[in-house]
């Protein structure tokens, strides 16, 4: 046992020493959406570009175009000696499980999914916590007591957004009514602004005056519909307040860019660690966006209430139920 510990310690020292001394050769495999999807993949891209500008270290990249290429791209990166390698999105998990076993000395980071292997770092987010905060803001901004939610593809991850949002709304206004719609059941639901706009308008017709979109590119249509109808919309993933100043109440920020940046940065410093990283409010992995574009929409009372909820969630006084813990939204 003791010998093993020493060996492990030595290995660690050698690994970190090597990583610190030599420059790293980072790489990223984007998913089907491509790096300019205005949403998830682009967030990663922005984080990596920041790293490249700061350190001057270039990275390899690949955008997959079919199912089989995920595994191929990850393996090619590893074969080329790239390290660390970021796999973007939950859909890459099965491919990464295979490749990470074949290349135990290569460090992999997967974002938005957990792959439990000794050389894989899994970064997941507590989207329910951030959604709770924008739910509080939505309930306080609503005059009708009715708010809406437009999801992208109907998967557990998006139901997690919806569930956190619902809890936040009811926390601020127990009598509030919430309308929920999913855009579709296929990946095309991430990029269907027309349908997103229609769903938002139908929710406005039923009396909603704030709508939260967790739908990737589909959200663009939701925000436009809110602007056209003079209602409020809430953005997602990156800070989208600037899109329509005056009708964007706030954005639920999910810092995939920070996660991507940190992966390369920690690998460079030698502090990269395998295992699961769960980024919530406490880690600033999720949050709500307040900037010059929406300052006029956020009242002092609203800000105080949201910040209070934020503090309470971090302190553990408010427990936000995670849909994916038991695949239900009973709390």
């Amino acid at each position: 046992m003791k010998r093993m510990l020493i060996a492990a310690g030595l290995a660690f020292v050698m690994a970190s020493g090597a990583a610190g001394a030599a420059e790293i050769k980072p790489a990223v495999v984007f998913d089907m959406g491509g790096k300019f999807d205005k949403s998830f993949n682009e967030g990663i891209y922005n984080g990596l570009e920041k790293f490249r500008k700061e350190t001057g270290i270039a990275y390899r990249e690949f955008e997959v175009t079919n199912e089989t290429q995920r595994e191929q791209a990850l393996r090619r990166m590893a074969q080329r000696g790239s390290d660390p390698v970021i796999a973007v999105g939950f859909a890459q998990a099965p491919a990464l499980e295979k490749v990470a076993r074949e290349f135990p000395d290569t460090r992999f980071t997967i974002i938005d999914m957990v792959v439990d292997l000794p050389n894989v770092q899994s970064v997941v987010f507590k989207e329910h916590e951030g959604s709770f905060l924008v739910g509080v803001a939505a309930a306080m901004a609503s005059k009708t007591g009715k708010v809406g939610f437009v999801g992208g593809m109907d998967i557990p991850l998006i139901r997690k957004f919806a569930c956190g949002y619902e809890q936040g709304v009811l926390y601020a206004n127990p009598d509030a009514e919430i309308f929920q719609n999913m855009t579709g059941t296929t990946p095309s639901a991430w990029n269907n602004p027309t349908k997103g706009g229609e769903l938002a308008r139908s929710q406005f017709d039923r009396g909603a005056d704030v709508v939260y979109a967790a739908a990737g590119g589909t959200g663009i249509g939701v925000y436009q519909a809110a602007k056209d109808s003079g209602k409020l919309a809430i953005g997602v993933d990156s800070n989208q307040n600037y899109l329509h100043p005056g009708t964007m109440l706030t954005s639920m920020t999910k810092r995939v860019d920070v996660a991507a940046y940190n992966t390369f940065k920690t690998a460079l410093d030698g502090t990269w660690k395998p295992g699961i990283q769960v980024l919530g409010l406490a880690e600033d992995g999720v949050g709500w966006a307040l900037d010059e574009h929406n300052r006029d929409l956020v009242s002092a009372a609203m800000k105080a209430k949201v910040e209070q909820a934020r503090t309470d969630i971090i302190a553990g006084k408010i427990k936000v139920h995670d849909y994916m813990a038991d695949n239900t939204c009973n709390y």
Binding site: R60, T65, E67, Q72, P187
Partner: protein, 372 residues
């Protein structure tokens, strides 16, 4: 021997014209690459090396080739009866569903030697069934096969989404995918199969369904040119009125040709589901059904031509991915442009240089009588 009109030698149409078209497509692609500031020769070298230069790359090329052989043969068989089957994509999708259902039901109980024939039969049956409905509508109701097969692609996609999102999904996961089959039901990879004989080969998705694709080439050749059914199909394709006069019933022939076509397309499911992914998932067809049309056009609807055209497209797919990997300025969209140019020149513009080239060689060569 009859003294017919002077004809060019056959190799002009079969070899020279495709080569000229391919060269032109690559030349234009080279100009585009040049215009974005990259060296086209370097790009071509990466493309060729990525597709054929090392064993793993070759494995990927042949894996794509397998899919294109199946869909190309599917289009060709229908085309011999003058039917334009645009539905290869949907038939492949549903064929994969058949394979997946068989594997999910029997993966624990059946040994591989029984599983493989059963999966092949299921792929054929499901693919043929999906082609049967448009075929019936064409044969009996006169609904145009192009329209109905296109619509059936969408219906197939919607059906698969419904099944995978609501019925077959493994509970508690995000991607709409079924559970993984037990390893006993996996069609062996080529590197595993060669390993049994002590031959080492790098890992790739190439699996034993490649051999089945080669067998299918032979079977289709025999079917079209050496059976009564094939004769009937060719007769209906050549002249439907004459076929009726000869006592052939076109309705039956249309349905037969389309069902064989659908079955061939369904075999994509064997390669993808049983051979590579080992689970049912969405969008595994990835456009192979549509590319099959270009493959069949380029291969002159003949198994040998289709095999060669499939190899070309397999190389373009794999080499293209490699190209995007090696040269960051060449994005995956530019790779699609290159593939599109090859399809454009070998498909749509096929006849551009044909008259000139044929005249050239007719004048030079002797006026050989060629069977029609």
């Amino acid at each position: 021997m009859n003294e017919g009109p002077a004809r060019p030698p056959r190799w002009v149409g079969m070899v020279l014209i495709p080569l000229v078209n391919l060269t032109l497509a690559l030349a234009i692609a080279g100009l585009i690459i040049l215009s974005i500031g990259e060296n086209p020769l370097t790009a071509l070298r990466f493309l060729l090396f990525g597709a054929f230069g090392y064993i793993e790359g070759l494995g990927y090329t042949l894996y794509y080739t397998t899919n294109f052989v199946f869909t190309g043969l599917a289009v060709a068989v229908a085309f011999r009866a003058k039917l334009f089957n645009i539905g290869g994509e949907g038939q492949a999708y549903i064929g994969g569903l058949g394979v997946g259902l068989v594997a999910l039901a029997f993966d624990d109980t059946l040994p591989l030697v029984l599983m493989v024939p059963l999966a092949i039969a299921a792929a054929a049956a499901f693919g043929a069934a999906w082609a049967y409905i448009p075929a019936y509508l064409q044969a009996r109701r006169g609904s145009h096969i192009v329209i109905t097969t296109i619509m059936f692609n969408f219906i197939a996609a919607a059906l698969m989404v419904y099944l995978l999102v609501n019925v077959l999904i493994k509970p508690g996961q995000m991607s709409p995918e079924s559970r993984e089959f037990a390893p006993s039901a996996w069609l062996p990879f080529m590197h595993e199969a060669l390993g049994w004989f002590g031959i080492a080969m790098a890992r790739s998705p190439l699996n034993l369904s490649f051999l089945w694709a080669l067998v299918c080439c032979v079977l289709v050749w025999a079917f079209i040119w050496h059976t009564r059914w094939g004769y009937e199909i060719r007769t209906v394709g050549g002249n439907e009125a004459a076929a009726v006069y000869a006592g052939i019933r076109p309705t039956r022939v249309i349905i037969l040709a389309m069902c064989v076509s659908g079955a061939l397309a369904g075999f994509v499911g064997v390669n993808e589901i049983l051979g590579v992914h080992h689970r049912l998932l969405l969008n595994f067809t990835a456009g192979y059904g549509f590319t099959g049309i270009a493959v069949a056009l380029m291969g002159r609807n003949h198994p040998v031509g289709i095999l060669l055209a499939s190899l070309l497209f397999g190389a373009l797919y794999q080499g293209g991915a490699e190209l995007a990997f090696e040269i960051p300025a060449i994005t995956r969209d530019l790779v699609v442009v290159i593939q599109g140019l090859v399809i454009l020149f070998s498909g749509a513009l096929e006849y551009m240089f044909r008259p000139q080239l044929e005249r050239l060689f007719t004048r030079r060569g002797a006026a050989l009588p060629v069977e029609g």
